[in-house]
């Protein structure tokens, strides 16, 4: 009776270790993080466009874009990039920094009701969001 119980205990412990292993940084997690950051940038752009067309109020647009900017700034300092080669990690962090700054400016432009600035920043946001997505990450490693 004790042996099967020990075996079950060992298998459970192995499973837990494997599951815990899922929590550490990996190229797959880095790719996911990059995709989520690019998604946040696109969302900010879409919200700004909706605000410009009068579909959403400024109070919502500003709050949501501000939150996305904070998320992008947080992503830049995330530990997940440490698994990537230094050059790749630096390039991603640079794009994230730019996106965080652009979304912060977008937030300010919405607060000021500055539609010209919003249109300019939206274009800039699209370019850098695309650049971020285009940065390759080898998830097979």
């Amino acid at each position: 009776m004790a042996a099967p119980l020990r075996r079950i205990g060992f298998e459970t412990a192995t499973l837990l270790v494997m599951l815990a292993g899922c929590g550490g940084p990996s190229p797959k997690k880095a790719a996911d993080e990059r995709d989520h950051a690019a998604s946040a940038a696109r969302s900010a752009g879409m919200i700004a466009t909706a605000w410009d067309s009068g579909a959403v109020p400024g109070v919502y647009a500003s709050h949501a874009v501000g939150q996305m900017s904070a998320g992008l700034a947080q992503a830049e300092s995330a530990g997940v990039w440490s698994v990537l080669p230094v050059a790749q990690s630096s390039a991603i962090r640079k794009e994230l920094r730019t996106l965080a700054v652009v979304t912060a400016r977008l937030d300010t432009a919405i607060r000021r009701n500055d539609r010209t600035a919003v249109a300019d920043l939206h274009g800039y946001l699209l370019d850098h969001g695309r650049a971020l997505t285009d940065l390759p990450i080898d998830t097979a490693r």
């Binding site: 499973l15 599951l19 899922c22 929590g23 997690k29 996911d32 995709d35 989520h36 690019a38 998604s39 946040a40 696109r42 969302s43 879409m46 919200i47 909706a50 067309s53 009068g54 579909a55 959403v56 109020p57 109070v59 919502y60 500003s62 709050h63 949501a64 939150q67 996305m68 998320g71 997505t133």
Partner: protein, 405 residues
């Protein structure tokens, strides 16, 4: 005429009560990440829910027992403690999610953080329970919940490809990101087949004094109500598939979700989204607070009814008061509402076996159901749901770790 009104109200309750923070968030995540591929999970969830809800109503109409009452009587108090403890934990998580959902809706229009809204919202929910009747909770909020039909209108407005939508109704293996696909499938099932709904529905049948003559109404309410409710959730998934997926947007926060309706309905879309989220989550929060009290009162044999003044069923009223107060804490502490939603839906899915298994036994016990026991078809379906529930319980937590992030 009276019967027609009852049927209409039952269907309205089903539609208005189906969508809440969990089903909206999981449907939107599924549409954004996998386009129409997970529509089958919503259909399966709504189908399972309709079957189980019909049984709960039938049990109450024939035996005058609620589900917790019957479980305690049939299996003994010690066994009953298992679903009691597990379900209270699940309901705490789901209710915290719902209060957070109302807070987010108010944050969207006011800019004031959802953390500041959870206490006033909790107080309002509690005050309505304290002063109101079962009819107010059941019908009032559900009728207002019809605003969620905006998701269906929005989905039609954007002309989604019919072939793609129908294709998604057939279960399939994922083409990419398998862990995340199955995690979302489990979350959708957890959000659809919420065990608290069985308790709420059976308690409602007893509160409304159902008898054998109500069985056909019960069947129509369960089938049509939950079916139409499922269509509302499919509307949200289709909107996410048409609006967010092509833009490469993943759903990471509730703040992205107004885009679903603004893309289809413009400024009105924003207003309808805020109203849908607020009403649906508020209604669900009230139902959960009540269900928590029903579960305790029916399990411990206390006096209970939402139609009695609180002084006549003090322990029942105290339970929903405490549940409402405690459920405000996660949002007050600033917990991420979307993450809490995902966790609570997975925990909800994992808790299914502890309710569905005993229900299956009771539904075949002639002492409770007399000549209205389950037939072979109903037993087959519930057997399949029990199997599904077991699979969900086993895989939900590993999937949450591997695919939920």
């Amino acid at each position: 005429m009276k019967r027609l009104v009852e049927i209409a109200l039952g269907i309205v309750t089903g539609i208005g009560g189906f969508l809440e923070a969990g089903s909206l968030a999981t449907a939107a995540q599924a549409g954004a990440d996998f386009r129409f591929d997970l529509i089958w999970a919503l259909i399966l969830g709504a189908g399972c829910l309709a079957f189980l809800v019909e049984m709960c109503g039938r049990l109450s109409a024939i035996s005058k027992h609620t589900v917790p009452d019957a479980i305690r009587e049939r299996f003994g108090f010690r066994f009953f403690m298992v679903p009691l403890v597990i379900m209270q934990l699940v309901m705490f998580l789901v209710m915290a999610t719902e209060l957070g959902g109302v807070g987010i809706a108010l944050q969207l229009i006011s800019g004031v953080s959802y953390r500041w809204w959870c206490v006033p919202v909790g107080l309002l929910a509690w005050a309505l329970l304290w002063k109101g009747t079962f009819g107010l909770v059941e019908k009032g909020v559900s009728v207002l919940g019809l605003v969620t039909l905006a998701f269906v209108v929005g989905a039609f407005h954007l002309h989604p490809p019919l072939a793609g939508v129908l294709h998604g109704a057939v279960p399939r293996l994922p083409s990419h990101d398998g862990a995340h696909y199955w995690f979302l499938a489990v979350s959708i099932l957890g959000a659809s087949i919420s065990p608290y709904l069985f308790f709420f529905y059976s308690a409602g049948a007893v509160e409304d004094r159902w008898d054998v003559s109500q069985l056909s109404i019960n069947r129509i309410t369960a089938g049509a109500g939950m079916g139409f409710g499922g269509i509302v959730a499919i509307g949200a998934l289709v909107l996410a598939a048409v609006v967010l997926h092509p833009a490469g947007i993943k759903v990471d926060s509730f703040e992205q979700l107004p885009l679903l309706l603004t893309s289809a309905l413009g400024h009105w879309g924003f207003i309808l989204f805020v109203a849908s989220l607020a009403v649906a989550c508020f209604g669900a929060a009230q139902e959960i607070a009540l269900t928590s009290a029903y579960l305790m009162a029916q399990g411990f044999g206390w006096r209970w009814s939402e139609n009695l003044p609180p002084s006549d069923d003090a322990r029942f009223s105290l339970t929903y008061t405490l549940m409402t107060a405690v459920a405000c804490l996660p949002a007050l502490a600033g917990v991420d509402v979307l993450k809490l939603t995902n966790i609570s839906m997975v925990v909800s899915a994992a808790s299914l076996p502890v309710v569905v298994m005993p229900l299956l036994v009771i539904m075949n016990d002639r002492r409770y159901l007399r000549d209205y026991c389950n037939g072979w078809f109903a037993n087959g379906v519930v057997g399949a749901i029990v199997l599904l529930a077991f699979v969900l319980a086993v895989v939900s937590f590993p999937l949450m770790i591997a695919g939920g992030g």
